[in-house]
Symmetry: C2
């Protein structure tokens, strides 16, 4: 029998799935569970140890702890109706730090149209276990399965910002925009609701483990292939700048890193007007085919898109 360390977190999460109801999910990176009464629930743990990059404030850490959960609701198209925060913080921490964490959670919840409805606190090494509750309001939840050959593939916003932020910190580059993208990711809750309400989205998930991983997951869940056109991948200028300064390729920053909270979705190309009418911002990055994995088309050359590191 092995220890948790030997088994590894990813394998353990797989193991835990045997305990789940059919409708359940285990994080990280999975969708939320849709249960009785049209209710959607997701839980994610963030820790000082793993999710507190240099320069981040406690308020931003709180925002982040909430955002990762709301992003999972967004991927389903749910409307958030509550958030609970269970904290385990070091006894030597200043009270102000704890209030700042709660304030960051509160701000993110408010941005997502809801608030903190419950919490608990015990001493611990610096852990926030958040749970976000949402409702579909009768809409059909968006799943990872459902993409069909011929569908377009799109993302809700520019890519590579959080990865650029991480590289900026590592290399001592002063780029506030990149750091903000890393510290305070924006959960695409209103976009997710619009996508599910449009009725034309065939699959959706968030990019918390990076675009490469997401595309592989979508292909696996839907039993399809995806071609992504490299030149279509949207990104801010600062991501290119940081790529140049650090030598980390732009492709890696946009595809290989997590911490990104845009949504990727597939949709019926003949009815895209419905999305434009709803004023959802998105960029088409590729097309679904009858293959079985994602490929990148860059200057006419094809390569397989692998799972990212995160």
């Amino acid at each position: 029998m092995s220890t948790l360390e030997e088994r590894g977190e990813r394998q353990l999460i797989e193991d835990f799935k045997t305990f789940l109801r059919p409708e359940g999910r285990v994080g990280p990176g999975d969708d939320a569970a849709v249960i009785d009464k049209d209710i959607v629930v997701t839980t994610d743990v963030v820790t000082f140890d793993r999710h507190f990059p240099a320069g981040m404030t406690y308020e931003q850490f709180g925002w982040y702890a909430a955002a990762v959960n709301f992003s999972d609701l967004a991927a389903m198209g749910a409307r958030p109706i509550g958030f609970t925060a269970a904290l385990a913080l070091p006894p030597i921490l200043e009270c102000q730090a704890a209030y700042d964490i709660m304030s960051g959670i509160d701000q993110c919840a408010e941005f997502c149209g809801t608030g903190i409805i419950g919490g608990d606190t015990k001493s611990g090494p610096g852990i926030v276990a958040g749970t976000a509750i949402g409702t579909m309001d009768g809409r059909k939840p968006m799943l990872r399965s459902g993409a069909r050959p011929g569908d377009i593939v799109a993302v809700t916003g520019p890519l590579g910002g959080p990865a650029a932020g991480f590289q900026a910190i590592e290399h001592g580059i002063d780029c506030q925009e990149a750091k903000e993208a890393l510290y305070m990711p924006v959960p695409r809750v209103s976009e997710g609701m619009e996508l599910s309400a449009s009725g034309i989205v065939s699959s959706c998930m968030d990019l918390s483990d990076g675009l490469g991983t997401a595309l592989n997951t979508l292909c696996g869940a839907s039993g399809v292939g995806i071609d992504v056109e490299y030149s279509f991948l949207p990104h801010e200028q600062y991501v290119e700048d940081i790529s140049e300064k650090t030598g980390v390729s732009l492709q890696d920053l946009m595809l290989g890193w997590g911490g990104e909270y845009e949504l990727v979705f597939t949709a019926d190309p003949d009815r895209l007007k419905r999305l434009y009418d709803r004023e959802v911002e998105f960029s088409i990055i590729g097309v679904v085919n009858d293959g079985d994995h994602p490929e990148l088309v860059k200057e006419g050359k094809r390569s397989t898109i692998g799972y990212g590191e995160y």
Copy 2:
């Protein structure tokens, strides 16, 4: 500015309440939040450090982590529809221990009519942050406020078992019944649903912080007094035995200790038949009056019931 340790957990929980929506709650010992769509949510953190008495198994720890949350739903009269478990466990722990914790949670959730619908795991010192989600199914949630002078006060089961279990361990007394009461408290979910469905219950809460604390809280929230008749307090024979063997008074075991998960409620005495018809087991322990605090009547003598230690 003080540290969390200096501020103290209870005060911190009070501080955190300023971040809550009006419908929210912060544990421990508070009710669950009733939000949009008739949904009830509660979150409680348990830790190896604080909630893992000698002799407890990992499976029982898992059961306990779930039970404390379901008990909060029970106090409102909600029907559980899901449970999420966020774990932060030591990397050196054997995998089997983690599976046992999940299995204990699963068994408790199944006992409460639901299952695990989500989870996450990170490394940590041994923390389970559980969140229970329930629905009122259109019933009115039971609150702490609402007790009226003339109402009877009742509990759903015998008192002092978990406290006796704790004392048995401390004093090396072999009493399996007492230890079971401590290790595997039974959340009174079906009782809570019946109580709320009866329409005659004016207030309710669980005894997680002990009967003394619960009675004080009910009196404060409802603006009433309560007289408890000592000889009415139900208990098992083993609680008396352990009281005798350890010298800890029976009164203390029944009133002064937490870890107890029966419900205490107040109800209209003229319509009690509705509860008997529903076959809810309960023991009347006293009556609500127009005072402002709980008193114990023991052999004709009165004393104020204080908050317990837990």
